[in-house]
Assembly symmetry: D2
Homo-oligomer: 347 residues x 4
C-alpha cells in the first residue's frame, strides 16, 4: 500500500515544474514538498503564476534530516550540484532519483572530460542505476539511486537499441542527428535562449561535443554489449518542447523494413510508453507533446541499404520528469502508467 | 453513483480532441464513443497519430437510436450543423452539450444576422441553457440542452460581469479588445491559418463584426440586467492556444483598484476555476495553458479614471471542451473539478 | 551633393543593426563607422555572425573629437545614456539623431516620473525636434538634434492624429490597445524575453504605466492643439517584429467610415511611407515587415458610433531605424525614400 | 549596357514574391511584369496587401508573343507546369530561368520516378543549364534555359562539393540531414502547413523519398565526376524561412578540420555569396535570413574520423529567387551582387 511522501529539489527548473504537474495528479502521492538551496521561503506561485492556488507554499531549505523522511527525493538541478548534494542521503531511506547528468557516466574521467566539472564519488556512482525504464526495469526496481537518462539519450536509445541488440544494423557507422526544442536549455536567460535570436532560427550547437555522447555510447554497451563510437549532433528548434532524433546506419544484408518494424514491435510489446509508428506521414514531436510517450519508426532506404530511424519524445516528460516518475512507479511496484496516463496535447 | 456513457459528435475538430483528452482521465466516464457524419469507419488514430494506442477505434455513424443510449452527447461541430442535428434528440434521454454557436442566441434574428445561417427551432433554443458555469450553475444543473459559451465570451464575461453587476464600472462605454491563438480557427486549412502567412504576423479580423458580440451583450443582460452595446474586436496571435481579453470602461466615482480586486475575489471565492491575479507582472496566456482556469485581473488608471480589465483562458479548454465537461459535472452532481484538475503546462 | 559620413553609437542593439542594414544600401552614405562605450576593438561580425564579410570592422571608442567629423551621429542606446552623452556634441557639427527616449519629453518632470532616471539638460531638450517625419517635416529639416519617436507612439500617432486634428473623433475617450513583437524589448536576455516563457504566450505588461503614454499625449497636443489623457496599454506578441495598435474613440455625429478613410487619404497623399488600407481583410503586421511603411485603417462601428482605428509598423524600422534614416534624408534634402525603398518581406 | 525587361510567370507563389522584392531594387531592371495562367486581371496588391502602392498592377494573361519581347522570363510555378509551358519560348529571345524542378534532371526516367509527372521534352532538357551559380558560371553565361537549383540541393551541394572534388571525404557513405522552414511548402493551404499543427511541431517527411535526391546525386557527378548514392532526409521546422543541412561523411586519412576549412576558403574566395564560417557557436539560419548568402562550415569529429558539414541558406533567396537573379546577372554580364547586396535581417 503506497501513499508516498515526495520531495523535489530544484523545483524551479523546467524539469521540476513537470514533476509538479504530474505528481499533482499521481494517485499514490500524498505529500509533495519543494526544496531549494537559494530561494528559501519564496512562495512558489509568486515565481510561477500558473501555480496560483495550486502551489502557494514556500520553498523549504534543503536539510538532510528533513529529507530522510521522504519516500522519494527527486533532484532536478544543473549538472555539478547533486554530485555533492546527494552522497550523504544515499542509503538513508529515500529513493533518490536524479534528473541531472551527475550519476550517469560510470567512468569518472568521461564525466570530467565532457562535463568539465568534478565528478561525484566513484562508490556512489557505482551504486547508481541508469533509469532507461524500458531497458533496465529490474535494476531500477532495486535501485537506491537512479541516474535518470538525458533527454537526447532517451530519444536516441529507445529507437536504436533494439536494432543493435538484434544485430540488424551495423553500429560501426551510426550517425544520430538530433533536434530539440528550446526548453532543454533550461530556465536561465542567455543569448542562446533570447526570444528574438532564437525564434525563426534553426541552429546547430556543441558540434561533436555534446555531453550526451558518452552517455549514449555507455548505454549501447550496457544494454547490447556492443562498443562503438557514434557521431552525434544536436540542433535547436524554435519551439518549446520536443525532441526528434534521426539516426542512420547501414543494415545487415537481407534485412527489410518489415524486419525493423517487427523488431520494434517485439521489443516494446509490453511497454506502454513506447509506440511503434507505421504511418510515415505523421512523424513529428507534436504526437507526444505533454506526454510520456516515445514514438519510434524505422525504414530502409533500399538505394543505399541504410536504415533511417526516427524517434520523438517530449524532452521535459519522457526526457526528464515523466521518465523519473515512471522509474518511481517501478521502484514502488506501481503500474508504470500511474499518474502518467495522459493524452498528448498534440496542438 | 455515476459511470457515464459519453458520445462525442465532431470529435475530429480541436474541441473534440480536447474533449477526448480530458474525458480519457475522467474517473466517472466509463465509455466514450466517437461519431461522425462523414468519416464513418475511419480509425481515429490514423487521422490523429498522437492517439495511437489510445483511440484506435473506428468513428461511428451518427444514429439517433444509438445516441439515445448515452448519458451525455457532446457536439463539437461548426455552426449551422447542430441546429438541424440536435432537435430530434432533445428530451430523448441524453444530456446535450453543444459547443457550437447554434443554441446560444435566444433571438433568432440575431443568429441569422451574425451567423448568416438558418437558426435552430425557436422552441429548442428556448430550452437551451447558457453554460457559463460560474454564473448559471443552477440552470445548468437542470438543463437538457446546454449552449456552451464561445471562447471569447467566456474570457470577456468572467472578467467584466462582476463589475457590471456590482455597478463598479459604466457599461455604456465598454471596449473589449480580444486576442486569440490560431487554434480558435479550427482544423480546416485556409489562407488565414496557413503557417507561412500566420506565423510572425499579428492581425485583426472581423472588425466590429464578430458573431460573439451579440452573445456577450445577451449574457451581460442575462446576468446583470444591464442592456448595453459593446465595442468588441478580435485579433489573431501567432501561437496555437490562448485568449487574452483586455477590457476598458470608466469606473464609477470613488471606486479603487482594491474595490475591483475585492469584487473579483468575492464573486469567485467558491469557484475553483476562476483565479484572481494580484501580481500584474505575470499576466499572460501561458498561466492557463492546457487547463480549465480563467485568470482575471483589474486595475484603475487614475489618470483617466478608467479600468483596465484583463482575463486569460485556454480557448480550447475553459473556452470550449473544459467548460463543457465542467457543465457535465454540474449536471451529474459531480465536483466541478472532476477530470479537470490538471496543472497548466505553462511552457 | 551629399556623400555622408555617418557614425552609429549603440550599434550592437537591434536598432543599431537595422541602421546598419539600411545604411549599407543608402546611396548617399559613403562612410559608416560604429562606436561603443564598452566593447572597443571587438570585431562586429564576431558578435553578429550575419555580418561576416559585411562589417568585419572593430568597434571604435566613443570620442567627441572624432565624432565631430561626421555628418550624422545616430545614437541607439538604452534610455538614460544619451541624456549625458550628447550635450557636448550639440552644435559641434554633426546632425544628431537619438533613437532613445531621452530627448522626447519636453517636460523634464514627465521624464523623471515615467523613465525614473535623470533627465537631459532642459536647454538641450528644448532644442530637440520630435522626429515624427510625416507631421514635423519642416522642423526636422532645420533640427540639430532629433528625438526619434518611440515605436508605439509612431504606430498610434500616425493613425489617430488625422482624426483628432480634423475633429472627427472625440479625444476625451481615447483607448489605444497596442501589441508588439518581442524585439522591442531589446537584445538583453531576461525572463521576459526567455524563449520558453515568451513563445506561445501572449501577455500584457506595464499596465497603464508605459513611458510612451506622455510621449503620445505630448505629440497629440503638439500637432493638434488638443490636450487629452489617453488610456494606453501594451502587450507582448510571441513574434519578433511588428506592432499593431488598435485605437477606439467615439466619432462625432454624422461622421462616416468614408469620412475617416478620406481623411487618412488626404493627410498622407504626399507621404510615401504611410499607406491607407481599404481592405479590412488583410490587416496584420506582416504587411510591413522589414520595411519603413506604416499602414493605417479606420472603420466606424455603427452600433456604438465608435471608431476602430488600426495601424501596423515594423517596430525596428518605421518604429526606430527606418524613421531615423527618413529624418536624416529630410535633414539633407534627399528624397525621403532614399535607401528605404524596400519591399516588405511579408513572410 | 543593360536596362532589362523582365517577366515573371507564377508571381503569386512565394518564389515569385521574392523575385519581385529583389527585382524592385535591381538597378538594371527597367520593367517588370507579372503573368498568370488563372488570375488574369487581378490587381496584385489586392491579393498581397504588403504590395499596396508597390505592385498595384493587374496580372497579365500568359501569351507567347508578348513574352518574346522580354529579356528574361522567370518561371516560378509548381513542378509539372513549365515542362509544357516553356518549350515554345526556347530560342525565341528571352533568357528563361525556371525555378521549378522540371528542367533539372537530365534523365527523364528519374524525373518521372521522383516527380511522378510527365517530363519536359528531352531536347529541351538537354539544352538546360543547371544554375548552381558558383559551380557552373561559364555555362550559365551562355545558357538560354536555366534550371535553377532546388532549395535543399543548393544548401547541400555548396557545402559538400568542395570536399568531394578535392577527395577529402569518402562520398560512398554520405548522409545529408536537412531541415527547412515551412515556406518551402509553398502558399497552398494544407494540413501539413496548417498553423495549429505545424507550429510547435518538428517533423520528418518524405523519408528517403524526396525528389531532390536525384538532383543532388546528378550534381555531384556533374561537378566532381563522382557517382554515388546518398542518404538524404528532410524535416519541417516550425519557422517560415531557412534551411540548415547537416552532412556526415568519413574523411580520408590524415585530413584535418583545418584542411576542410582551407578547402572551403579556397573554393569560394572569389564568390561573394558563399561565406566560410569559422566560429562554430553562431551557426543558424538567421545568419542569412532574407539574403542570398550561403554560409558553410565543416569540422572533423576525431573520435570517429567523420566530418560534420553544415550549411545555411534562406530557402526563398539563395534557394530560389536570389540565385535566379544571381544567374540573370551572370547571363547579362553584371556583377553577381547587382540587386542582391542586402544585409541579412538576422532577427
Amino acid at each position: 500500500m503506497s501513499a508516498l511522501k515526495v520531495a523535489i529539489i530544484g523545483a524551479t527548473g523546467y524539469g521540476g515544474l513537470e514533476l509538479i504537474r504530474f505528481l499533482h495528479n499521481h494517485p499514490e502521492v500524498e505529500k509533495m514538498d519543494l526544496f531549494t538551496s537559494s530561494e528559501e521561503g519564496v512562495i512558489f506561485s509568486s515565481k510561477y503564476g500558473h501555480l496560483l492556488n495550486i502551489q502557494d507554499v514556500p520553498l523549504q531549505k534543503i536539510d538532510y534530516e528533513t529529507l530522510e523522511n521522504y519516500d522519494v527525493v527527486f533532484t532536478s538541478t544543473p549538472s555539478g550540484v547533486t554530485s555533492k548534494l546527494l552522497p550523504p542521503l544515499v542509503g538513508k531511506g529515500p529513493k533518490l532519483i536524479d534528473l541531472s547528468g551527475d550519476y550517469r557516466l560510470k567512468n569518472l574521467q568521461d564525466y570530467e572530460k565532457w562535463y568539465k566539472k568534478d565528478p561525484a564519488p566513484q562508490e556512489i556512482v557505482d551504486q547508481s542505476v541508469y533509469g532507461l525504464t524500458e531497458w533496465n526495469e529490474k535494476n531500477i526496481k532495486e535501485a537506491v539511486l537512479i541516474a535518470n537518462p538525458g533527454c537526447y539519450p532517451t530519444a536516441a536509445l529507445l529507437s536504436i537499441l533494439p536494432f543493435i541488440k538484434e544485430g540488424l544494423i551495423d553500429p560501426s557507422f551510426l550517425v544520430i542527428d538530433a533536434k530539440s526544442g528550446v526548453s532543454g536549455a533550461g530556465n536561465k536567460p542567455s543569448r542562446t535562449t533570447h526570444f528574438s535570436e532564437t525564434n525563426e532560427n534553426f541552429s546547430i550547437y556543441k558540434i561533436n561535443e555534446h555531453q550526451h555522447i558518452p552517455e549514449i555510447e555507455q548505454a549501447i554497451e550496457m544494454f547490447t554489449g556492443v562498443k562503438t563510437a557514434i557521431t552525434f549532433n544536436t540542433h535547436l528548434v524554435p519551439m518549446t518542447r520536443g525532441i526528434l532524433a534521426t539516426s542512420y546506419a547501414p543494415v545487415k544484408d537481407g534485412v527489410t523494413t518489415e524486419d525493423l518494424t517487427e523488431c520494434l514491435m517485439e521489443t516494446y510489446k509490453r511497454h506502454p510508453f513506447v509506440r511503434v509508428i507505421t504511418d510515415a506521414n505523421t512523424i513529428g514531436t507534436s504526437r507526444v507533446k505533454g506526454s510520456n510517450y516515445c514514438d519510434v519508426f524505422a525504414k530502409i532506404d533500399e538505394r543505399t541499404n541504410r536504415a533511417t530511424i526516427v524517434s520523438v519524445i517530449d524532452n521535459l516528460v519522457k526526457g526528464a520528469a515523466g521518465q523519473a516518475i515512471q522509474n518511481m512507479n517501478v521502484q514502488f511496484g506501481l503500474p508504470q502508467t500511474t499518474g502518467l496516463d495522459v493524452v498528448p496535447l498534440f496542438i
